[in-house]
Subunit: 341 residues, 3 copies
């Protein structure tokens, strides 16, 4: 954390929270209830940690009004304690903004445009016709390929590769190892071998998106792969060519979306989930972890597939029966018929 | 797309397609039926888009003879419209071949061999005894480790790492973030801790293979990991040590193949599928997305595992019953027995 | 392999194995039973390869005493042949230790500390306050971010990114493409959009851990993500923020562990498996490939989920029935009730 310090009163005022306790108390950081020390703010968002209110040494706790009575020390009342805590925590984040300018080891093509306020780190390659906006931060080992543009205040932490025809909006955050704009997986089968289908589109990523480490987003075959604004992708996600993801959708690690699928707004896709190609997913759909979506989903709600974890010996017996489930069901049906007659 | 232009007549002649329409019409690109403009060629391969023939503004449509009557404008008749379209599209692909030569920032070991027609991009490290063939294109941030060789006309787009003892055939295309030739996951358990099993083999990749972004292919423990010719791997695939993949097999994103598995020729492995170690998969086997192959497959055909996606409330009830499926089946059996008696 | 040569007698003595055969026989490498030549040692650990003892041309075979009689040539008797073989194989591993020193193209911040015996490869960026220990080997294209430290004798093969506040113990081996210390996926939903929860913790990795290619380990939100000693991670694994993994646990490729999960010691997590957030997994738990752990596991043992692979036509019928499994079970229950009455 940073060396910042604020009084409780200042923090309450800044985020319009009701303070119960000493406004002059000095705060130097944030922590969990269990680990917070006397100059740190903790928070209670998940009721399962409510018992920790008793023993916490936190200088103050961010919590809902309903939980305030259970808190023996100072507290900050918030409608959504997790959101309030996130904002407070940001006060204590160390900021390491790179210096504006292009590192001596970086290579910038003469046809590229780099804003004077942007920072380009060591060993970066900025290729022809790339455009880097105001206050953009590009860490070490990044490549900004031909014709790519990076919107103002975006940050590519390190080792990000924008291959070709990629447009990032403003305030986009991309973590290391992400590859955006590689060829989609387009193949045509010509009697006895594959031929490559040229991938001629690009990738368009809206404002305020976040792209996780080692996530891959392919460029379109014809037309673009599109992420609308505020889409949040965790690590190691695969987004195939011509996918569209609606605004404010969040996808957890290792999920994969096949080509030309369209995901709505405000969706939550669980870790390791899969979505087949050419499907439509409505707004506000939740898909639980490791589920496979094999048909379009038209209604908001939560969807799942898979079977529950069990001790292997039990699971083996059940799984063996699954192979004959249709037959079992038929036998049940035959039985009912027989009995009725 | 490129600035190329061709007449319809030239295109028809080049790919031996029957043209119905004006041979002098000038074509400047390709597009989907829905988006094509007056100088672009569209295509109809998937019958679900047949209705779009009515409204398309495409200069010509590549389609099967059987669909030609439904097309009001010009058309190009093909046995396989998708293959023909792929070939036509390649005419309009922008080519950015690097200049032959070694970028000033690249490092090439004195014992390495680089063909004069090869292009080595910025920040590349070519290590001892590496061999780079004719007309090879190596983009920025690549490492070609000791003893690796890259066959003629291959292209490593950017940030590809060939760790050690990797041989790429001719015309191999590798996308950014791929790691080929890292140690396989070989461990022996020595009473209370792991010891590493040295990984002494290499990786051999045949001609015309394509390796997706952030895909990993480990080198063999003893002997090599092998991809025969024309194997096509999408992004984020994991190929463990000593796997063999037969020619013309295609694997979709996020699939994983465990050690020493042998996959046949002309297989199609779906996204997120898993294949356990030491298994044999016959030629022409299809495994659907996110299925897990736990035993060898001897017969061609399509194979699947998993359960269908459902609204979570329904799924929960069914999944809970799965935990007792063996017991349910026994009860059905007991019942039948009882009734018969 | 290397050019090393040892007599069988020397090898037997070095690893305290009983030798049956000619102590002066010269050994130049290791191989499988099927491929070993006359100067190579093979091994028999898996009984399914026992028949290969007959035809092997190996100079000697490492095997259990019980198998020695079936071996016509020389043999080395070991309690655990695979462990013994791993140790012997290490004799023949080529070692390519980088020269101590910092490559001319590498960039090292003035506030960083690099041991004189460490080797820093080309195009590395060592940032402020980083600490690189004795005999550390860092290959090309690595970034060691602010405040990271790398313990003695660790090796970062190539293109490894330690983002921020990462501590590696001694003898840690990290493969290319790994990203350690990127922001965890922390989001709070503020009415109609996401706000980022600052990720203020680090990553702590114990001695003797191995981290696979393209694996990602996020830093903690508050507090650290922790791998105890001798944890072994294969390729393309995702470890979310604030996860703890106990000593000697091994995780196979493409598995994913969600935030704040705690995995015990000596666990084995199969390839592609998923573990949801905030769960506890006891010591010595095995999770089979592609299983999803949705609740804490308190007892050692083997756990599974999923359904078996089947020909697609059969699978479809069974899967369709799964959607009505609760109803089928109810019908069976109703039946039993009816019959009893």
């Amino acid at each position: 954390m940073s060396d910042a310090a604020y009084t409780l009163g200042k923090i309450a005022a800044r985020f319009a929270l009701e303070l119960r306790g000493d406004a002059d108390r000095v705060i130097r950081g944030v922590a969990t209830l269990a680990t917070a020390g006397e100059t740190q703010i903790g928070f209670l968002a998940n009721p399962r940690y409510r018992a920790q209110l008793v023993d916490t040494r936190a200088a103050a706790v961010v919590l809902r009004a309903a939980d305030a009575d259970a808190c023996h020390g100072a507290c900050l009342i918030a409608d959504d304690p997790y959101v309030a805590f996130a904002r407070i925590a940001a006060l204590f984040e160390r900021e390491f903004a790179g210096q504006p300018g292009i590192h001596a080891s970086a290579l910038v093509a003469s046809s590229a445009t780099v804003a004077a306020s942007a920072s380009i780190g060591p060993f970066c390659a900025i290729e022809d016709d790339a455009v880097i906006g105001e206050s953009v931060q590009i860490g070490p080992h990044c490549m900004i390929g031909r014709g790519c543009s990076v919107g103002a205040q975006s940050r590519l932490v390190a080792r990000v590769t924008l291959v070709q025809d990629v447009t990032l909006g403003k305030r986009v955050l991309v973590h290391p190892g992400a590859v955006i704009g590689a060829d989609g997986f387009g193949l045509a089968f010509a009697r006895d071998h594959w031929i490559k289908v040229p991938q001629l589109g690009g990738v368009h990523i809206g404002d305020d998106c976040e792209i996780g480490a080692n996530t891959t987003i392919d460029r379109g075959a014809l037309g673009d792969t599109v992420l609308e604004e505020d889409v949040r992708l965790d690590n190691q996600i695969q987004i195939a060519h011509n996918v569209t993801i609606g605004a404010h959708t969040a996808i957890a690690g290792c999920a994969a979306v096949a080509g030309s699928a369209r995901i709505g707004r405000y969706c939550l896709i669980g870790g390791g989930a899969g979505i087949l190609g050419h499907l439509d997913i409505a707004d506000r759909v939740t898909v639980t972890a490791m589920s496979l979506v094999t048909h379009s989903i038209r209604e908001p709600g939560e969807y799942s597939s898979g079977t529950p974890i069990q001790p292997n010996r039990q699971w083996r017996r059940n799984a063996a029966r699954f192979k004959h489930l249709d037959e079992i069901a038929r036998r049940v049906g035959a039985f009912e018929k027989e009995t009725k007659s």
